[in-house]
């Protein structure tokens, strides 16, 4: 029964072209990795690998959820199936949707990580990443956020040469890191399977995380102008992830977060980055390799963060309300402007850190400053426009995913992220690239944002894609 169930669960979640593409990409990355010199790959792996592991483990826990459809609850769970088989099938589909993302992230470095131990690390990481998503939903928001931050800090401790960290294997401490990752995978996978197998079928509903019942400190829009209301709504709160599109996965975070809390968290992160940069290259005007690498790591993490933020801009929109009140061009223009301001508030502490570093004589910080002030905001707007135009999806319910979401078009919305990561990495090193790239992205973004024709076409697309 299990093979049939597995096939059914996978086919109901992933389109056939997407599954074929996933297979092709895994082979492609393996082939590309042979072209990258291993010394260079090792350097990338140290910072990039640690950063990616920290980000993804934290995100898995913070945004966790299980891929269960309404149709699963209405039909699949009512069938006389073994809970064990059902758990395995759901875990495996979860692995394809989420865990496999790790393999994409490290894809072009396969050659470097082809040593048996590092290969084991990758598989263990994918299992841990998958399992954290399964374990997370029943936790309270506070616990989830606290554990996410703890997990990220523990992983980033590898940069300070702490050997027993999930990131240590990619940063020189192969044995300590491997033991840690395996231990993490064993614990989380055991917990995930226990969670999946213990629950009564009806309890599956509890795995789909729901929103809180009351808004503790609601906003008032009384006395605001139409445009003022848009800014007020988007500047006071934010939905942090909205839609995540790794491997075509679409997910929704329904908790709203006060912008000031996110800005405060960003300020702590920027302070840590500043201190690290000073310690990494204490003497100004020295080559400052560590400042480079720290700046790249921060830029990449911020690029990922802004991407996740961009995916919620349209996904949570209600066009029957907003676009019947204001013309699309006006509404979207102000919606995007308010989202950009909101993002800039979060990026501001990092901009300040880079500006001070530059003033202290760290010339390389100029590139990072350009990335934070221009490249990331410009890319953010383009990511919103791209997702709205290519594959808009409206989140309508509490289901973490909805049928027919795992398609090539969905995957395509994540494609710009690759280019953005590449650009911010290069721009963090070469200020001229940051300035030129940032100006270009901002110019294109401004043109699209101001284009009435573009938003009119987007409105039609949203309507035809079933937006209410």
């Amino acid at each position: 029964m299990l093979p049939k169930l597995l096939k059914f669960v996978i086919r109901t979640r992933f389109s056939r072209p997407l599954l074929i593409l996933i297979a092709i990409m895994l082979v492609y990355f393996a082939a590309v990795s042979t072209l990258i010199p291993s010394q260079q790959a090792n350097l990338i792996l140290g910072y990039y690998g640690t950063g990616i592991v920290a980000l993804f483990l934290a995100m898995a826990l913070a945004a966790g959820g299980v891929m269960i459809f309404k149709s699963d609850r209405d039909y699949l769970f009512t069938l006389p199936l073994s809970t064990r088989d059902l758990s395995i099938a759901i875990f495996f589909s979860q692995f394809i949707g989420f865990g496999i993302t790790i393999l994409f992230m490290f894809g072009y470095l396969y050659q470097t990580i082809a040593s048996p131990l590092l290969l084991v690390d990758l598989v263990a990481l994918a299992l841990a990443f998958t399992s954290l998503g399964v374990i997370a939903p029943p936790m309270t928001t506070r616990l989830r956020v606290a554990l996410s931050v703890g997990l990220a800090l523990w992983t980033l401790a590898a940069l300070a040469n702490f050997p027993l960290s999930p990131g240590a294997a990619f940063n020189g401490n192969v044995y300590g890191g491997t033991v840690t990752i395996i231990a993490l995978a064993v614990v989380t996978t055991t917990l995930a399977f226990r969670s999946l197998s213990r629950i009564e079928l009806d309890m599956m509903r509890s795995l789909v995380r729901t929103t809180s019942s009351d808004i503790k400190s609601p906003n008032s829009y009384a006395g605001k102008s139409p445009v003022g209301a848009i800014y007020s709504m988007n500047l006071s709160n934010m939905s942090l992830a909205g839609r995540m599109n790794m491997a075509g996965t679409s997910r929704y975070i329904s908790r709203r977060v006060k912008t000031r809390w996110v800005v405060a968290t960003a300020a702590v992160g920027a302070a840590a980055y500043f201190i690290y940069a000073l310690q990494g290259a204490p003497a100004p005007a020295v080559s400052g390799t560590d400042t480079f690498s720290g700046a790249i790591l921060v830029a990449v993490v911020l690029a990922f963060f802004s991407f996740f933020l961009s995916q919620s801009a349209i996904t949570n929109e209600r066009i029957w309300l907003s676009l019947t009140a204001l013309p699309p061009a006006i509404y979207f223009r102000h919606l995007i402007a308010s989202r950009v301001i909101s993002l800039m508030l979060i990026l501001a502490p990092f901009a300040a850190a880079n500006a001070v570093l530059f003033a202290l004589g760290y010339g390389v910080a100029l590139g990072a400053l350009g990335v934070v002030l221009a490249v990331i905001p410009g890319a953010f707007v383009l990511e919103i426009c791209w997702a709205a135009y290519i594959a808009p999806i409206q989140v309508k319910g509490d289901d973490m995913v909805m049928a027919a979401q795992f398609s090539l078009r969905q995957l395509a919305t994540a494609l710009p992220l690759g280019g953005v990561i590449l650009l911010v990495s290069i721009a963090s090193i070469f200020p001229v690239v940051a300035i030129a790239g940032g100006l270009f992205l901002c110019a294109v973004s401004a043109l699209l944002t101001m284009s009435g024709g573009f938003w009119s076409r987007v409105t039609t697309k949203l309507t035809e894609n079933g937006f209410v």
């Binding site: 729901t210 929103t211 809180s212 019942s213 009351d214 808004i215 609601p218 906003n219 008032s220 829009y221 009384a222 006395g223 605001k224 102008s225 139409p226 003022g228 209301a229 848009i230 709504m233 709160n237 939905s239 329904s254 709203r256 949570n316 209600r318 066009i319 029957w320 309300l321 907003s322 676009l323 019947t324 009140a325 204001l326 013309p327 699309p328 409206q394 989140v395 309508k396 509490d398 009119s456 409105t459 039609t460 949203l462 309507t463 035809e464 209410v468």
Partner: protein, 240 residues
């Protein structure tokens, strides 16, 4: 604004989705103050018609007007209220925040007063701080109705407005809509609802105009003992 004699006007409107023709040379008018039901079988083009009327879709040929203005114009947006089927308010906002936000977006003068009025009128006061994502389907529908009429629209477009509502609330909503002035177009499959909310009918099938008249005239098309649903079904079947 040109002619104000018609609240809603469609002239030779066609709209297709790829190779599927959703509306085919559709024409009908609804006079200012008219209460019309939009009837048609599944796939007749009712929802497409409503989406054209709110300007979220554009006709490929023909013209659509709301009180003489194009649906995508500011003039039209100021006077139209729309309730889609299975309407979803903003899930991240509370009930009150939804009402205040949309009232502000629509330029309502007394946002707080209007919000308080609708909260009381639709028995939503108890849920005003509730996250919309946690509301029952019935309360979500009540909120959606409140959002559609928050600016006291002159032209109201409703798609199955009484879905999910319990009977007392249905009666309350019917009475409330009855008190409102303006042009109403109600898309529904249920004749009893059409009869309670409107007095006339526009029937379409396969994206084409089929029949227009009062509900009494529609009833007269059948024998006295024949249910009106049978008459409608016969007319729709005759068109297919």
């Amino acid at each position: 604004m040109e002619s104000r004699s018609n609240g809603i006007e469609l002239e030779h409107v066609s709209k297709s989705y790829g190779s599927v023709l959703a509306l085919n040379d559709l024409s009908f008018d609804i006079p200012v103050g008219g209460r019309f039901a939009l009837l048609g079988p599944n796939g007749a083009g009712k929802s497409t018609t409503l989406k054209l009327l709110i300007g979220s879709l554009r006709a490929e040929t023909g013209s659509v007007k709301i009180l003489g203005a194009a649906p995508e114009s500011k003039e039209s947006k100021a006077v139209v209220g729309y309730l889609p089927e299975d309407a979803l308010p903003y899930r991240m906002l509370s009930v009150r925040e939804n009402l205040e936000y949309i009232a502000a977006l629509r330029g309502v003068e007394d946002v707080k007063g209007r919000t308080d009025f609708l909260l009381d009128e639709l028995d939503l006061r108890h849920y005003e701080r509730s996250n919309v994502g946690r509301l029952s389907r019935g309360n979500t529908q009540k909120l959606a109705i409140a959002l559609a009429i928050v600016h006291t629209p002159k032209v109201l477009l409703l798609d199955e407005p009484l879905n999910y509502l319990d009977i007392p609330t249905q009666e309350k909503v019917i009475a409330m809509l009855d008190r409102m002035e303006g042009t109403h177009l109600v898309s529904t499959h249920i004749m009893a609802i059409a009869h309670r909310l409107t007095d006339s009918v526009v029937m379409i099938s396969k994206g084409m105009f089929l029949w227009e008249g009062t509900i009494d005239e529609l009833r007269k098309k059948g024998s006295p003992e024949e249910p009106i649903e049978s008459v409608v079904a016969r007319m729709m079947a005759g068109a297919s």
